[in-house]
Symmetry: C2
Subunit: 324 residues, 2 copies
């Protein structure tokens, strides 16, 4: 089995071969720019792994891995417009570097390009893999809309939040693995177990993101912590704190998030203090452990040798047990 | 053969059955709203006709007809954001009624929903129909980007313009017919002839749009003419006039389009006068006739009885020889 790093390298090499030299250049330059950002490439690599797990050949799922990565990048381009985010992976976002219209349209094009790759499967499994792809695409949009709704709502529960990140982040991890598995010849049952593994690890991954953004070690994390707090993002930590705090704590937290022009460093420190007081960092870690465990149980249930599943286990650990 | 009106009615009935009641409602209400607008439904009806032409059964291509209509509506929602258009078919556009973020996201969802229908084909032809669908989706985006580019360019030729409307409008008419034909069992050669028929009639259709927007009879056209002139749209008429006019006429036209705050009625009248002076209305009609003729020749080359092809002939006439 190829290890994680060689799979990333293989995938990166293949991704650079995608033709982005079409016309008009205003449409294809942002696509080329976005794909060159790098990023962790976890999703497409798990597609390759999911395929290799069942047929021993990761290359067979390359078109689907590319489809997943193009789709993911399409959502990033559109999300950045909606979130008015100027920077992504240390670079200017497409809508900032060009303009919102170009970002809408190059995103749309990437989405269609994703389908050009998604359809490159044997006809026996084409419909099944496309069904997963379509369903996931719709759910990711639903998740993003819930996320937008929650921005202006003061009534978001932890359950609402988990539902949202399941749609926005979890299902794409699940789909990446499931599609790879189907290409590799997995049964529906096996592919679904891998899907559930992916969704749960994806949930843990997102919760870890929330945790690192606030409590990460800046030296290792590679960027300033507290960004979510400064932008009033309703993360697991914030929602859980509101649910856990007494009246006084709740009022203090609401006031910190509702007061404009608070000095950022003060706001971050005061909010972190409340988070720690109500132990929501511990609650987040417990939640992450819970999803990690459920995910691993799904992987365990797949009737393949432990040796073959080891690589996916390591990816799951990498996604959850990280400092950046 | 079912006639055009009964096919529209059949299609409208089926379209209302599409589930738009999912959550979040902020995502699905705009979709329901957009689909309820009506519109001519020419594209999906030609998909049904293209299928019936080869197998005698239009219902077989219903999923593809729905896919085409959902895709078309997705492009309208996104185009309206980019064009900052407040009104479409007499109703507020999605981004005006809701907001740009919701318009981006409900458009994305519609696009994914389109694929849910597009994939409902027999596995023998699934890949071929999806290839047409994907390629067309990408080309429509390219066309829209060229259109956006041309807004700020003073150097657009008639050839550039035709290339743009071929991508933005023509290819989707071609694809609607070709996909229907493939579902109906047409050979690649026959399907491609129907594609070329569609593209050429689509070009004629768009040029007729340009003509009616400026020279339509307001009573029949149903809205005020001159909208393209007021918004400085670089239509065939404008570009052809710039190419045809002498220096004086060119300067006058450029000045009309480059002066802000000109009184709209004056601007419309003065521009129309120039268009008539340089006979660009006649040039447009000649161009329309040319594409109509080429389209009809493609239809003629398909080896089926004239009786069977009669309905498509009538649609082509309806698209070109219209007053609104």
């Amino acid at each position: 089995m190829k290890n994680y790093e060689s799979l990333i390298k293989y995938f990166e090499d293949q991704l650079t071969k995608i033709a982005c030299n079409g016309e008009p250049t205003e449409l294809y330059s942002p696509i080329k720019y976005t794909l060159s950002f790098g990023g962790k490439r976890i999703r497409p690599v798990t597609t390759l792994m999911g395929c290799e797990l069942f047929c021993g050949d990761y290359e067979k799922a390359l078109p689907q891995a590319i489809a997943i990565e193009l789709f993911h990048n399409f959502t990033l381009i559109h999300d950045d417009i909606m979130d008015n985010a100027p920077i992504r992976r240390g670079q200017e976002t497409v809508f900032k570097k060009w303009n919102p219209n170009i970002a809408i349209l190059s995103g749309d094009t990437l989405f269609a390009m994703a389908y050009q790759y998604a359809q490159q499967a044997d006809k026996e499994i084409l419909k099944d893999t496309l069904s997963v792809f379509n369903q996931t695409a719709i759910e990711v949009c639903e998740g993003q809309q819930f996320d937008l709704n929650y921005e202006s709502s003061n009534d978001v529960s932890v359950d609402d939040y988990i539902k949202m990140i399941r749609l926005k982040t979890g299902v794409l991890f699940g789909a990446s693995l499931k599609i790879g598995a189907l290409v590799g010849g997995a049964s529906n049952e096996e592919a679904n177990l891998l899907y559930d593994f992916g969704v749960n690890i994806g949930l843990g991954f997102q919760l870890k993101d929330d945790l690192l953004d606030t409590f990460g070690n800046e030296g290792i994390f590679g960027k300033k912590t507290g960004g979510d707090i400064v932008t009033n993002k309703k993360t697991f930590l914030y929602i859980k704190a509101l649910e856990t705090a007494d009246d006084e704590g709740r009022e203090e937290l609401l006031s910190l998030y509702n007061t404009v022009d608070t000095e950022p460093d003060y706001k971050i420190e005061a909010t972190k203090k409340l988070f720690l007081k109500y132990k929501v960092d511990m609650a987040a870690n417990e939640e992450i452990d819970k999803y990690f465990k459920v995910g691993m149980e799904c992987l365990d249930m797949i009737k393949l040798s432990d040796e073959n599943k080891q690589q996916l286990r390591e990816v799951a650990v990498k996604m959850i047990d990280r400092n950046k």
